[in-house]
């Protein structure tokens, strides 16, 4: 199978999953115990016959189940995710506004996890069974069981309250800093593009701690994987050959071993996208980071269900798409996968 065929096939296979996703959210909205009208419109909205009538018409609530699903689907495709009773705005608009903050945080966390994880994994493999190895493995082990919200609170306690290295949980910028002009909605990027160095610095100071907390788990995971795969290919013939030709240990590690050891890491990064978005729900709550995770939590507490479902469906779609991208990347790097199908 050619690469192109594989890519097309993989994308087509994602379509049923995305349709399934919409069915799940549809069922959650309409068929869980409790009055769906109250859930979707709020107590006050459900008590107002005018609102109920408009809503019933727009979402086809007077029709049968399957018909109602098609109305729902049609609205979804047109980007209509309903209205939030918390913000009194269209959910799609809210998501559009809150999403860049989450992307910024998740990207920063991925960078932290990838750079830190690869470095730590190399260190551990190079000094196997000595203290750097033990240290990295201990940290990776702790990282696998640590609740991310607790880690966030501890980090704030240490780096904000005791050491004053970073600002407190006040969101993305200090109150005295102006928001940079909107290009992507990611403040660090926008500030960089517009050359506002003070704003960039302030945004980075706010970003660094949540990014580390969110990325910690995957940092540990990547470190463990890089370590394991470096050790696995450690005795490979081409490395022995390189050594025989008198290459330095550093060059062998960086040029010959590392690229091959990194292929499995790509899978982890793909899974990380989902994990990071899920972790963002908790991390954003701890750091008062105004992204879609915190939006989901705030609206869930306010029993604002259309907003919750909006976030759910957005994250679900991103997760599916990122899995496809990972599969494609993987197939590009490792031809055996394509042939295997």
């Amino acid at each position: 199978m050619s690469l192109l065929q594989y890519v097309v096939r993989r994308f087509l296979l994602a379509i049923p999953t995305i349709i399934g996703l919409s069915i799940v959210t549809f069922v959650l909205a309409n068929y869980l115990p409790g009055d769906p009208l109250v859930r979707l419109l709020g107590e006050r909205g459900a008590a107002n016959p005018k609102i109920v009538a408009t809503y019933t018409k727009r979402w086809g609530l007077d029709k049968s189940g399957p018909e109602r699903y098609f109305v729902y689907m049609r609205n979804l495709v047109h980007g209509d995710l309903g209205r939030s009773t918390t913000t009194q705005r269209a959910v799609a608009k809210d998501l559009f506004d809150f999403f860049p903050a989450t992307i910024e945080l998740a990207l920063a966390a991925i960078v932290v996890a990838a750079v830190g994880g690869v470095a730590a994994g190399m260190l551990a493999a190079r000094f196997k069974s000595r203290w750097p190895d033990a240290g990295v493995r201990l940290l990776a082990l702790l990282g696998s069981g640590v609740p991310v919200f607790w880690l966030g609170l501890l980090a704030l306690e240490v780096f904000y309250l005791r050491l004053h290295w970073v600002p407190g949980p006040e969101g993305r910028l200090s109150s005295s800093t102006h928001v940079p002009p909107h290009t992507t909605g990611m403040y660090t990027f926008d500030a960089l593009v517009h050359g506002q160095w003070a704003t960039l610095w302030d945004a980075l100071r706010h970003l660094i701690l949540p990014a580390f907390v969110l990325g910690a788990y995957f940092l540990g995971l990547i470190a463990r994987m890089v370590r394991a795969s470096l050790l696995e290919i450690g005795g490979a013939n081409y490395l022995v050959a390189a050594r025989a030709r008198g290459m330095s240990e550093r060059r062998i590690m960086l040029v010959h071993a590392l690229p091959n050891a990194l292929i499995p890491v790509i899978t982890v990064l793909g899974l990380a996208v989902g994990g990071l978005l899920a972790g963002a729900v908790l991390t954003e709550t701890v750091f008062a980071w105004p992204g879609i995770g915190r939006y989901a939590v705030d609206t869930a507490k306010g029993l604002d269900y259309q907003a919750v479902l909006g976030v759910t469906i957005l994250i679900g779609v991103i997760y599916v798409v990122s899995n496809v991208i990972v599969d494609v990347l993987y197939a590009t790097l490792d031809p055996r996968i394509r042939i295997g199908r």
């Binding site: 959650l28 869980l32 050790l231």
Partner: protein
């Protein structure tokens, strides 16, 4: 425990490994920690110094750790130590019951799909595909938010997001075992499908499922604590661990409020991971860890 010899022997310059004591050490450590927490769960009412909910003492609110209050007191003057210990009575049964339910539901459906094949299988795989395409935390949040707060609803949410993994695992197991010669032989001598399944297929699945269930106990505790932390899980006076950590969020200066329940979660999750890894090395032939060679 001899499977490593072949891989090691092929690599020149390495002595045969010693017998592996480390693995059983982690398994033992995990078992000890969990046994400790189970003991706490069963006996805490007899020795806890304070009632976790009723003993409020506003004169001694937000006090740091001391002889009287080992883990300090919270904003209502309740003893954090007692609350953390009583928390085990919520978190452990919650995790165990959720995982048991998920195993029961998932394995039944997965076994049916694997055993009967055809459209049952097809339908099931589509359902699991979809459920697994949400990050668990997000889907659990959506379900818990719809059902409203409360421990029972947390269990429902957790079961709904975890059962598909068991279904998929069980299906795979059944599919690979049902083609085996012993199954054909049993069918040939006239065993009914039910008996074939019970006596000749099921016993071979239990190891893999058991290992996953053990590790998942830790995952579920994290998930449930996360739900409580953001306020869609346990209802306030209940000393659920995630909710206790959440209490510390409003006053990070009083570090003891969040730190100790967090440590409780950490120890339990790590212990379940240890046990899961240990069991996998012992019982699951497919996942035996290869012993990594040395760099150079």
């Amino acid at each position: 425990m001899t499977e490593t010899t072949s891989t090691i022997a092929t690599s020149p310059g390495h002595s045969t490994p010693k017998k592996r004591p480390r693995r059983s050490v982690t398994l033992t450590m995990g078992t000890v920690v969990i046994s400790g927490w189970v003991l706490v769960t069963l006996t805490v009412p007899w020795w806890a110094p304070f009632d976790p909910v009723k003993d409020q003492d506003l004169h001694h609110r937000l006090n740091g750790p001391s002889g009287a209050h080992w883990f300090g007191t919270d904003k209502l003057g309740r003893d954090v130590f007692s609350r953390v210990m009583y928390g085990a009575r919520i978190s452990l049964p919650l995790a165990i019951s959720s995982v048991l339910l998920a195993v029961l539901i998932g394995c039944t459906i997965g076994a049916a799909a694997g055993f009967f094949g055809k459209w049952v299988d097809e339908a099931l795989m589509r359902i699991t595909d979809v459920t697994l395409s949400f990050p668990a935390m997000v889907l659990a949040l959506a379900i818990a938010a719809a059902l409203g707060p409360g421990i029972r609803n947390v269990v429902i949410a957790v079961v709904l997001v975890t059962w598909p993994e068991y279904a998929r695992l069980m299906r795979g197991q059944v599919l690979s075992i049902k083609g085996g010669d012993h199954v054909k032989a049993a069918t040939a001598i006239g065993c009914r499908p039910g008996r074939v399944f019970r006596r000749h297929v099921l016993p071979f699945c239990s190891a893999v499922i058991g290992v996953k269930a053990t590790t998942d106990l830790g995952v579920v505790i994290l998930l449930a604590a996360g739900l409580s932390f953001i306020g869609v899980g346990a209802v306030p006076p209940d000393p659920e661990w995630g909710a206790l950590v959440s209490d510390g969020r409003t006053s990070i200066a009083h570090w003891w409020i969040a730190t100790f329940p967090g440590l409780a979660i950490l120890t339990v999750v790590l212990a379940f991971n240890f046990i899961g890894d240990g069991l996998r090395d012992r019982y699951d032939p497919y996942h035996r860890r290869r012993r990594p060679k040395k760099w150079r």
